[in-house]
Amino acid sequence: MFKGRSTVKKFITYGLICISLIIADYQFDQMQRMRAWLSLAVTPVQWLVDVPQRSWTWLDERLQVRDELIAENKQLRSQILLAERRVQKLAALTVENFRLRDLLNSSEQLDEKVIVSELIGINADPFIHQVVINNGFNSGAFVGQPVLDATGVMGQVTSTSAFTSRVLLITDADHAIPVQVNRNGLRTVAYGLGQYNYLELQDLSDTADIEVGDILVSSGLGLRFPKGYPVAQVIEVRHFPGQDFAKVLAKPTAQLNRSRQLLLIETPQQQTLAQQEGD
């Protein structure tokens, strides 16, 4: 039954396979594609886990309203999401106009295409801030695509399979997003800390003009996130005498651990960017 030597051999073989897989996945981008197809194997589990939530929603709707009303309700809800997105953008644009910036610049901003998507799973590992959504490359999601909810930037798509995608949240310890202060246009980068309630601005000098309550919006630098969406609000600014940099903490405006309906943004320039990366 237990054959000592062959088990040890097997153990060493599998161990080596695992280690080379980790290294390959860490080093080579080609693994992305393989993973996209392998992920199909776990998609049923992700769907099954979501069944209680979905069936509860279903029952709830059946008990409350008739079919037509449900359809109408859903349509209205997605319209609200779209409208709210416009309002978010409007706030930033108004401030822009106040500053009398060059009109040529703002006329470049085209309206982006939006896909409404639903959350179907979250990562149970507290060190990885990722969620799974029910749009894959079959419905137009692509790697690098920015994701918003009704109140702000949530993150970006990091891998896609046919029917689902994985979204890295802005609070993940591996994530950073270029932002600017809405009040005065100060540019900086907001880093995730691995905690849902905080982002950190590490690169602000001690004398930088930043206050508690400042709204940070995406700056559009880095060509990944579109410009002007709210990202976070500054909640703490601490100065250390003798240190070059201030410690600034901000709270994400998106409801990272609550939103179930998300928006995938599609800007023309980004799609070409994604295609270039794909080639």
């Binding site: 039954m1 237990f2 088990t7 097997k10 153990f11 599998y14 161990g15 396979i17 695992c18 280690i19 080379s20 897989l21 980790i22 390959a24 996945d25 860490y26 693994m31 993973r35 392998l38 992920s39 194997a41 776990v42 589990v45 992700q46 099954l48 886990v49 939530q53 799973g121 979250i122 990562n123 149970a124 590992d125 507290p126 060190f127 990885i128 990722q130 990091t158 891998s159 994985r166 310890a173 591996d174 691995g194 849902y196 651990n257």
Partner: protein, 162 residues
């Protein structure tokens, strides 16, 4: 005389599927820190009970599926799973003799080893750190074992999994 050919392996697979669902369950953040390693626990049980059916090959596949489910680097959970299964296979005879609290103690160590391997090999590309809190699922898994062992033994006997 009817020779029972079926080993009822699907029952074990079904328990593993439930473990997968439990590990993918959307849970609040503060629970995540102590959420037990369901797949590992259930699999350890089947390794101890039926080491001739569930070995390193299974451990490798289950680990890969966990990696896909969690979006880790491929191989992180697989490596941890293979190592822990190897230890479990080395001492399954002794484990069967142990009292349940002794088993729970061993399981605590096995899960701790698992957490260390997956946490460290994941850490190569990340800058998250939080002291030793990542080990919290180990004692909780150990406690859970006391209950899980009874349940799975009941399942194994009821369905005559061999």
């Amino acid at each position: 005389m009817v020779i029972q050919r079926s080993h009822n392996r699907w029952v074990a697979i079904f328990t593993l599927l439930i473990a997968f669902m439990l590990s993918a369950l959307p849970i609040p953040e503060w629970v995540q820190w102590g959420w037990p390693e369901w797949v590992l626990l259930v699999f350890i049980y089947w390794v101890i009970a039926l080491p001739h059916r569930f070995g390193l090959g299974w451990a490798f596949m289950l680990g890969l599926l966990l990696d896909l489910l969690q979006g880790n680097y491929l191989g992180v959970n697989a490596l941890a799973m293979v190592v822990v299964t190897f230890f479990a296979m080395l001492m399954y005879r002794r484990l069967r003799m142990y009292r349940s609290w002794q088993q729970a103690f061993v399981v605590f160590f096995l899960v701790a080893i698992y957490q260390c391997i997956s946490y460290w090999s994941q850490g190569i590309g990340s800058n998250a750190s939080s002291g030793l809190w990542f080990l919290l699922p180990a004692p909780i898994s150990g406690l859970l074992w006391l209950w899980l062992f009874v349940v799975l033994r009941g399942v194994r006997r009821a369905f005559k999994v061999a």
